[in-house]
Symmetry: C2
Subunit: 154 residues, 2 copies
DNA sequence: ATCCATGCAAACCGTTTGCAAGCAA
DNA sequence: TTGCTTGCAAACGGTTTGCATGGAT
């Protein structure tokens, strides 16, 4: 692992530790193992693929613990959950990654590609909605849908 | 039913009929009954509440048919499906209703209110994303999340 | 008469829960 | 030692599927 990533991962570990301590959760080895595996994954993943990945790497872990730990990681903002609609929830690491939104490319109902983008106008809209509806917004989810073109990967 | 609504419903029926004919689907009484019930519902609903509503109204209908028919209604744009994340999919009639996005108000994980808004900047973002990522976008879903305040209904 | 659509129930699948055993504090 | 965590398996809940019956064409 290259030095900058190593540093970033150390930060991530520290954030997790702080969170666990602050909330009276125990620092179990399983939780740190899961954190490390999650941060080795590029892009989106679901619980099942994380489970299989950890099995392949010879870790003894249960799906229940994965669900529990992912919940903790979401609460301390180290992981983001996406509900794209096709089957299971998708997750991705989110530390120091620019927050972004998604374009789901589908071919007859199947997700064949997920692209990302970032647009500052969302923040403007958010500010206006807060003012207009008198609410304090804590987050958002914007997804565009698009049909696969012929030169799209199958 | 007042005249304008009656007219609107006639249009809706016509759109459904056209769609069924154009796609070789049969015009069954069940499908029109479900369409009528759906268009009598204000706001969001899920399949279970639609099922119970129709049972209450003494219709013999199965959940399977509701799922099938809702799919048809979505395909001809008479109904919209939302995946807000809490349990089941939410639907709402969408004929000639201004398309809008949502603010989900939650109190400790429970959805306590859903507000709507509409902002033209989404269209601008969409156009830019289409150009930037070289895709043709067919739709979008934008949801803001917010925590319930004390003067929010429980 | 054909064969798509329906109602019913079972299957499916992602997620949650219950519980005994394990281990962090 | 205490009681939160874990792994396992069963339960759960929304959705899908299989199948015999029914009805639109």
């Amino acid at each position: 692992m290259k030095t900058p990533n190593k540093e970033a991962y150390d930060n991530v570990q520290q954030i997790f530790t702080d969170y666990l301590l602050a909330h009276g959760h125990r620092k179990t080895p399983e939780r740190y193992t899961i954190l490390r595996e999650v941060y080795n994954i590029e892009g989106h993943f679901d619980i099942e693929s994380l489970y299989m990945r950890m099995k392949r790497n010879k870790y003894r872990v249960s799906r229940a613990t994965l669900y529990n730990t992912i919940e903790l990681l979401i609460e301390c903002k180290l992981v983001t959950r996406h509900l794209f609609g096709n089957g299971s929830a998708q997750f991705e690491k989110s530390y120091k990654l620019r927050q972004h939104d998604h374009v789901i490319v589908e071919r007859d109902g199947e997700v064949v590609n997920i692209m990302e983008f970032c647009d500052p106008r969302i923040q403007e809209i958010q500010a206006d909605v807060e003012r207009l509806l008198q609410v304090k917004i804590t987050g958002h989810s914007l997804t565009f849908f698009s049909k696969a073109t012929d030169n799209e990967q199958p």
